[in-house]
């Protein structure tokens, strides 16, 4: 029972509600939901890094790598969603593991910008590769699910459940992991690395583990995104602006709770959708303005709204 706390219960309820809601949702709501789950998963990886005191401005690298890995498999005839998403996730994870050896030695702005530099290398490679459609990218055909080939609306319904199940497992997993000794080391590394080393742990190894995890989930998010939208291109998948969006979502969510990243991603999608609809020429201003407002009025993110509600009942935990 010690694994079951408020967050796990909340996540489970949200999972069940969304699972059932999937069959009743308007198509566009489901579509926004899918994108929010995908982006939320990436932000979850950033949240883990952030708790360790690191911000990455380059996670579009893993997002794009996962998306392109999955999409390229469809070019050679594989269409199973399980295979595509697994391959995308793994590819990004392996890349993160390799780059981690270098990046774990850097902190603060150096870490952020080195990540960005690597992500722009991937971007440059894709843009220059005509076989992958250069800046146009290419279309990703409808996936199948272990032999089941849905048609029409059922494609998105199935994909939503597919995504939901995996994000649920990942999110609960991260939450439980953060409660273990190694997970709890995040805060310690952020606060004082030297003390961590004196306790007998390697700060670099702690960071490396988190980094690989963040790469894995970013790859997962990218692969899901490629399947959900049915198109990959470098500007929406691997450019630094995409990395910026993930940081935006993380700031929007706050790092208080693992579930917050999905709420942040949903809010981000909604702001963007409505800004785009009602102010086609000024939607970027609205997006920027809302980030500014969040930083000024909710510096700890949307999750702090929930914490405030709770504060009236109980004193905040340290």
């Amino acid at each position: 029972m010690r694994y079951i706390d408020k967050t796990v219960v909340g996540l489970t309820i949200a999972f069940l509600v969304l699972f059932i809601a999937d069959f009743f949702m308007a198509e566009w709501v489901r579509f926004i939901g899918l994108q929010s789950l995908a982006r939320g998963a990436v932000a979850l990886g950033l949240l883990v890094l952030w708790r360790t005191g690191l911000v990455s401005f380059g996670h579009a690298l893993y997002f794009g790598f996962g998306a392109y890995a999955a999409a390229m498999l469809t070019l050679i005839g594989y269409h199973d969603a399980f295979l595509l998403v697994f391959a995308g996730t793994l590819a990004a994870g392996v890349l993160a593991y390799l780059l981690g050896f270098l990046l774990r030695r850097y902190r603060a702005i150096f870490f952020a910008l080195l990540n960005m530099a690597f992500s722009m290398i991937l971007y440059g490679v894709i843009v220059k590769t005509e076989e992958l459609g250069s800046t146009d990218g290419f279309s990703v055909l409808t996936p199948t699910f272990l032999g089941y080939a849905p048609q029409g609306e059922a494609v998105q319904t199935t994909l939503f459940i597919f995504t939901l199940v995996f994000t649920y497992i990942i999110t609960v997993g991260v939450h439980l992991y953060m409660k273990t000794t190694l997970g709890g080391m995040s805060m310690a590394v952020r606060e004082n690395e030297i003390r961590v080393e004196y306790l007998g742990y390697s700060a670099e190894k702690v960071i490396h583990v988190k980094y690989v995890f963040s790469g894995l989930v970013a790859g997962f998010g990218g692969a899901i995104m490629a399947l959900a939208i049915g198109q990959v291109d470098p500007d929406s998948m691997a450019n630094w602006t995409v990395s910026g969006e993930f940081v935006f979502i993380t700031i929007l969510s706050g790092i208080g709770n693992v579930g917050a990243t999905y709420i942040g991603a949903l809010v981000f999608e909604l702001i963007r959708t409505y800004a785009f609809e009602y102010a086609p020429q000024f939607w970027q201003f609205i997006l920027g303005g809302s980030l500014l407002a969040i930083i000024m009025f909710l510096p700890d993110g949307i999750w702090s709204l929930f914490s405030r509600l709770r504060r009236s009942e109980k004193a905040p935990s340290p």
Partner: protein
């Protein structure tokens, strides 16, 4: 229990939110209107020179259709599309294929769009085509030029149409113009954007040149800047040093203007003869700074090439446009307007075949397939790719500055028939070019 109660509150909140979102969706299409989504570049480098003039052209036609004030031959066709008012949703095309596909789904599923008339970039069109077919959404591409849409991406389109010629027509017309007007040219090179439109434009021009002027050498160092890069210092240096006197370029919009400014400053246009596929969009904006003496096209008989077309429709369009925006309409304005006219023609024809009742989507599609309708500048023949791809006549000329009128004019204009520059129905453009352009009627 305490835990459950609190989580319950959050869940309630989420469910409420979801319900509220779901409720707004149903309201969009209550009135008897035709919801027409018009995506075009409203921000970024594609906007000022191309996206906004295209929007302006579409808007003028949509307003006139809604008021029933189009001149002949559309003067007796009543108000709206088959009697229903157009509700236009104009929105931004920038952000790349993924974003546009997402937005396409959004517009279809959330706002109940009935048809799309738009998309400027070939990259966007290529990304949208499979989704439009998947969602069974009537989509008219008025502008984008890559031949891949019906030659590779979807060879049997049902819901997607394109109402102007594609890059093959541009390449062939340009090569024919070069052959007729520069018979002793000593070689050619190119600067084209590294994406579908740039790649296809160069490929087709190069293939056509190899057929028509097989002895003229082509440069091995053609330049491929990224779309919307805006900086051409290195490319201009390379072009200045190249030995080929003729430079082919399909740059468009803001990229084209940046290239012209940077090239003029370094004397590129005095040293080289430039051939621009889509430069008409900038001749009015740049005025005297536009490179006089350059060969240019408007991807058909549009913009400055239509300045003297003496039909009621064209005279009306130029006047309304010039009065409202203090500048004459450019190619993009004409092309976007032509796409909207295709919808007008198809809906009205489908309604008349349907006994005057408002037609179904399939009837509108059947009416547009293979049709010939009057565009603003010229007749549009929807007779390629099973009646989904248009062919129109084409024009190329040399830009000059008219001192008396104080404006740009086209000189040495040569006109090409639709069956001269477009590959015949059912024939792949690249194969047609490689096979010596058999069946071309010039």
């Amino acid at each position: 229990m305490k835990i459950l109660r609190k989580s319950g509150r959050a869940t309630l909140l989420a469910t409420g939110l979801a319900a509220a979102l779901g409720a707004t969706a149903g309201l969009a299409n209550a009135a008897e209107t035709v919801v027409m989504a018009v995506p075009t570049f409203l921000t970024g480098a594609g906007a000022p020179a191309f996206g906004v003039p295209a929007r302006n052209g579409a808007e003028i036609i949509i307003e006139a259709i809604n008021k029933g004030k189009l001149p002949a031959p559309y003067n007796n066709s009543g108000k709206g599309l088959a009697g229903r008012q157009i509700q236009a949703l104009i929105y931004d095309e920038s952000g790349g294929g993924v974003k546009q596909v997402a937005e396409f789904r959004n517009k279809v599923q959330k706002q109940g769009v009935d048809l799309f008339v738009g998309y400027i970039s070939s990259g966007t069109c290529a990304a949208i085509t499979p989704v439009a077919e998947e969602l069974k959404m009537l989509t008219i591409f008025p502008i984008c030029g890559t031949p891949r849409i019906f030659e590779e991406i979807d060879k049997n389109p049902k819901y997607v149409f394109r109402t102007m010629g594609h890059a093959t027509a541009d390449g062939v017309a340009e090569a024919m113009y070069v052959k007729a007007n520069m018979p002793d040219v000593k070689g050619y090179t190119g600067i084209n954007q590294n994406y579908a439109w740039g790649q296809d434009s160069w490929r087709d021009f190069d293939l056509a040149m190899k057929q028509l002027m097989p002895n003229v050498p082509v440069s091995e160092k053609t330049q491929w800047p990224k779309i919307f890069s805006g900086q051409y210092g290195a490319e201009i240096s390379a072009l200045m040093l190249s030995k080929e006197p003729l430079v082919h370029s399909s740059l468009w919009g803001g990229d084209l203007e940046a290239f012209i400014f940077q090239g003029s400053a370094r004397g590129l246009f005095r040293k080289k003869k430039l051939l621009f596929s889509v430069a008409d969009t900038s001749v009015y904006r740049l005025g005297k700074k536009a490179p006089a003496g350059a060969i240019l096209g408007a991807r058909g008989p549009y913009g400055i090439f239509a300045a003297n077309v003496d039909t009621p429709l064209n005279k009306w369009f130029r006047k309304v446009y010039s009065d409202r925006y203090s500048t004459p309409p450019v190619g993009g304005s004409y092309q976007a307007a032509q796409g909207v006219l295709a919808a007008k023609y198809a809906y009205d024809k489908a309604a008349s075949m349907n006994g005057g009742k408002f037609p179904s989507k399939d009837q509108v599609i059947a009416a547009l397939e293979g049709a010939t309708f009057q565009g603003i500048a010229a007749k549009v023949h929807m007779n390629r790719s099973n009646g989904h791809q248009a062919a129109t006549k084409h024009m190329i000329g040399v830009l000059a500055w008219d001192k008396e009128a104080g404006g740009p004019i086209m000189t040495k204009v040569q006109e090409f028939g639709p069956d001269c520059v477009m590959p015949p129905p059912g024939v792949n453009g690249t194969e047609w070019l490689k096979g010596g352009m058999k069946g071309a009627k010039c």
